[in-house]
Amino acid sequence: MPRLIPPAPGPDDQYFWDGVREHKLLLQRCSDCGLLRQPPSPMCQGCHSLSWDTQPASGRGTVHCWIVSHHPTEPDAVPRIVALIDLEEGVRFVANLSGIEAERVRNEMSVELCFAEIDGVTLPQFAPAREESS
């Protein structure tokens, strides 16, 4: 079993993984009413529009909650911190925290977007915001 389960993009989220390869975190936005949707969906729940485009996230957010994820069958694999990030745009996003030890993670701490290559897959990650880490 690989250390990382790679994403398998479909019609509703291909844009996202294309953006990640260019180191952008793209949020789906309704072209008609502007509502942001994460996870994305093909129809806007606010106005039922099927038209959408994307908006790059600022990359700033805070940690709503977090865990340390040990690989279930490879105990020697480096554990990863998984966090639910409240992005400042008002949507939530699951990602890993990087550049911080678990003992220093705090709920509500400010984080900012970065990217990592793991097992050949580019993934969005979040690190402590610069003003916070200094």
Binding site: I5, H64, W66, I67, S69, V82, L84, F93, V121
Partner: protein
């Protein structure tokens, strides 16, 4: 149709089960057939009386193969309920609707699996992840323990709980299992020290002894119209309320998008429906069977069901309220941690036994028993 239309219209007339084990040594179809026949006989019926069937979408047993096993000649109604144990009670809702509408006269509900010796739910799924899992699996949310623990961490943070607080529930569940001969952990209670010495599954939230079992076994129920209650060999368990509760932006596994995750929002909706339908309130409930894939979800549900206020479940449990003899005995069979994990269906059979007065850990004078699974639930009453 009003929300109260299912109140007191149907009863759970029969219950059946196999033994609960870690290796049944037989097919899931056979487990389903054994549990089903036991439930039909318990209701004083024969397979020829059954004309409806309900199970989980996840169940591997085909209805027609089960009909063939049991010799059920004609089936007029069948349905399946989505997702896992959170929806266990939705099977009863479907059955109650079927008999109440006249679609069927006697509905067999079954759930059977080799969930320990076969495909283990607690392990990562090696197959391609289903649609919508791209947002979670690549980041390492690859087991149910991690998926649920992420939200539990928020609850711990907001109300200042430690893993030891969760352990107090596990101790109660195992104590109840220890005096239930049907439980896998019969005569094997644990102490809080045992709990704290068990290995981390998801640090700092879940230890091994916070997790439900993986079990092999089958459970079945028979639902009939309430009019049949006087003819039944055992006291009927009257369905005073049964409800399903889903919310927009919800997810059964990845339920991360409802405001502050220190609250179980679906369960609040569930409680509102069950109390409205039954005309009862939290103070009327004598026993609660609470689906617990992991111990923290008992805390979240006790609060959302109105048995205590937000953040008060820690003290509610520590003060002995959920013990036998307490204000609200919870999971008197040992629950999914102590008895077995038959996707929550074994909590419904225990609720029926409490109403009949035949439970191993019988609560004297139990008039109303609630079963809750976060997103579905029911209240049973004496006939």
């Amino acid at each position: 149709m009003s929300a109260s239309s299912l109140k007191d219209q149907a009863v759970i007339a029969g219950i059946g089960q196999t033994e609960f084990s870690k290796e049944s040594g037989r097919s899931e179809l056979q487990l389903a057939a054994e549990a089903s026949l036991a439930a039909i006989r318990d209701a004083g019926l024969t397979p020829a009386d059954i004309d409806g069937m309900v199970t989980f979408t996840l169940d591997s047993t085909d209805e027609l193969l089960l009909m063939t096993c049991l010799g059920i000649p004609e089936l007029r109604y069948w349905s399946r309920t989505p997702h896992g144990g959170n929806g266990a009670h939705t099977t009863v809702q479907h059955a109650a609707m079927a008999v109440n509408s006249g679609c069927a006269k006697a509905v067999l509900i079954y759930r059977a699996f080799n969930e320990r010796s076969g495909r283990r739910f607690g392990q990562p799924n090696a197959q391609a992840p289903p649609l919508g899992w791209n947002w979670y699996m690549p980041f390492g949310l690859d087991t149910p323990a991690k998926i649920y623990a992420l939200a539990f961490q928020r609850y711990m943070h907001v109300y200042g709980l430690s893993n030891e607080d969760f352990g107090r529930y596990s101790v109660v569940a195992r104590r109840h299992a220890a005096t239930n001969p049907g439980a896998w952990f019969y005569q094997r209670p644990i102490t809080l020290e045992d709990h704290q010495a068990s290995r981390w599954i998801v640090e700092p939230i879940l230890r091994l002894l916070d997790c439900c079992q993986e079990s092999d076994g089958g459970v079945a129920l028979v639902v009939t119209p309430a009019e049949r209650a006087p003819d039944l060999p055992h006291p009927a368990a009257r369905i005073a309320a049964v409800a399903d509760a889903q919310l927009v932006n919800g997810s059964v596994l990845f339920n991360y998008y409802h405001g502050d995750l220190a609250e179980f929002h679906e369960t609040r909706f569930l409680a509102r429906q069950m109390y409205e339908m039954s005309g009862l309130g939290p103070d009327d409930i004598d026993v609660a069977m609470i689906y617990e894939n992991f111990s923290p979800v008992v805390f979240l549900q006790l609060e959302a069901l109105g048995f205590c206020g937000p953040g008060e479940a820690r003290d509610f449990i520590a003060d002995g309220n959920i013990d036998l003899g307490g204000r609200l005995p919870v999971n008197t069979n040992g629950g999914l941690l102590g008895e077995a994990y038959i996707h929550g269906m074994n909590n419904i059979t225990e609720a029926v036994r409490q109403i009949r007065g035949t439970a191993a850990n019988q609560v004297d004078g139990a008039e109303h028993v609630m079963c809750a699974g976060g997103r579905s639930g029911l209240i049973l009453g004496k006939p």
